[in-house]
Amino acid sequence: MKKKIRILIAKPGLDGHDRGAKFIARALRDAGMEVIYTGIRQTPESIADTAIQEDVDFVGLSLLSGAHNVLFPKVVEELREKGAEDIVVFGGGVIPEDDIPFLKKKGVQAVFTPGTSIKDVVDFINKKMNEKN
């Protein structure tokens, strides 16, 4: 049997905008993936713990509040500290273009802003999955 892709969709911090996260979760389910959604108001630490317990291949972060420059890198760090740097972190939401290079430098491997097509997200995931194996 082909390995199933497991992915965690998570909302760090206090941001309550959850439409985008739920939309992405459903879209990835429809693309054949197993998606775990944390719900809102998660700490970077609990996101990393969840990712490890669920043995996911990817963590997709969603943030519309503007706190991405702090919270996204924090999740990457937490995973690294817990010895799970092989889990790919990416994200989306209302994120200014200018912030994206910084986030990538910090280990957030892709950022998807409003209007991105789900196909681009799925292509990214499949590409990363192939690189892993």
Binding site: M1, K3, K4, R6, A25, R26, L28, R29, D30, A31, G32, M33, E34, V35, I36, Y37, T38, G39, Q42, E45, S46, D49, T50, I52, Q53, E54, D55, K82, G83, A84
Partner: protein
């Protein structure tokens, strides 16, 4: 991928990452999963609690509250929460965990979402093996939450030592329809959402069915009203679950359950291994199309083919010995 022996070692030490990886390996099946189970086969070491009931009954929310109380009785708690896979895409949204997320970060609680992956019966095909992984990892309580089920999906009863059936007011006629089915499922009946009207009526109906069914039995399943919203009845549920645990340990019912599960394990392994062995010896992959062709052309029948395979096979095995 790390070596399987290394992962097994770490699982036994209780390493979370290894346990999580181990469950994925048994979920994905194949040789690595089998190798892992070979290293850490256990049966009957943990107490296994099944939580089942219709969709939205409050199973996950209840487990979330139960975990706190269970900590007085067990050292480490693992939850395996199963949600259905889409039959069309194979994907799944695993939503049980959201309700238990407050326990993430507690080193003595491990929560794992599992997709049913086409398995019917309310659990995933790999649930049984995942139980073995967490059991080897030192979790002395394993809680299995099934997919929201109807009456035919009762596989969890075979895996669990104690099964709790969660019911909620508003099911109306369904309860009547389930009448025959539910008695086989529940060792305990929890009436959740008792903050809602009609909950007493439901409790009365269930009580009536239970009394009728367990007339002459030593054990009578308790009926426990709970409300997650008001945090009521949770302590009662835990008390009665522990009572059932003590009852099955005392009476030998537990021992029988374990032996049945071991028998199941032997049977399924035997079936698979024998099948592999025979297929190899009769050169099945090379020959099957030829056999089909022979029967199609009227030169043979499936019975004749099996007979000749059978005769040759006996010779083969003898030679090997």
């Amino acid at each position: 991928m790390k070596k399987i022996s290394e992962i097994s070692e770490k699982i036994i030490q209780g390493d979370i990452r290894a346990i999580a990886r181990g469950i994925s390996l048994v979920e994905n099946g194949g040789e690595e999963g089998e190798e892992l189970l070979k290293n850490l086969y256990v049966e009957g070491r943990s107490y296994i609690l099944g939580i089942t009931g219709p969709p939205g009954a409050g199973k996950s929310s209840l487990i979330n509250l139960l975990i706190d109380k269970f900590k007085e009785h067990f050292n480490k708690v693992a939850v395996l929460a199963i949600d259905p896979s889409s039959p069309f895409t194979g994907g799944a949204i695993l939503g049980d965990r959201i309700r238990m997320q407050t326990h993430t970060g507690d080193p003595n609680v491990y929560i794992r979402s599992m997709a049913s992956r086409g398995h019917l019966g309310g659990i995933a095909g790999a649930t049984k093996d995942a139980i073995k992984v967490v059991s080897a990892g030192g979790y002395d309580l394993v809680i299995v939450e099934t997919v929201g089920v109807g009456q035919s999906e009762i596989d969890v009863v075979k895996l669990a030592d104690t099964t709790v059936l969660v019911l909620v007011p508003g099911l109306g006629d369904e309860i009547q329809a389930m009448k025959s089915g539910i008695m086989e499922i529940g060792d305990l009946f929890v009436i959740n959402k008792s903050d809602k009207p009609e909950s007493e009526k439901l409790a009365t109906t269930v009580r009536w069915i239970v009394d009728e069914h367990y007339k002459d039995s030593e054990y009578k399943p308790p009926i426990i009203p709970t409300s997650v919203y008001k945090n009521e009845g949770i302590g009662d549920a835990v008390r009665d679950i522990i009572k059932h645990k003590e009852y099955i340990y005392r009476t030998g019912i537990h021992t029988n359950k374990i032996k049945l599960r071991i028998k199941d394990d032997i049977n399924s392994l035997l079936e698979r291994k024998l099948n592999d062995f025979i297929q190899k010896h009769i050169k099945y992959p090379e020959k099957i199309e030829k056999w089909v062709e022979q029967v199609y052309r009227g030169e043979s029948t499936p019975f004749e083919i099996i007979k000749s395979i059978h005769e040759n096979l006996i010779i083969d095995v003898k030679e090997e010995i």
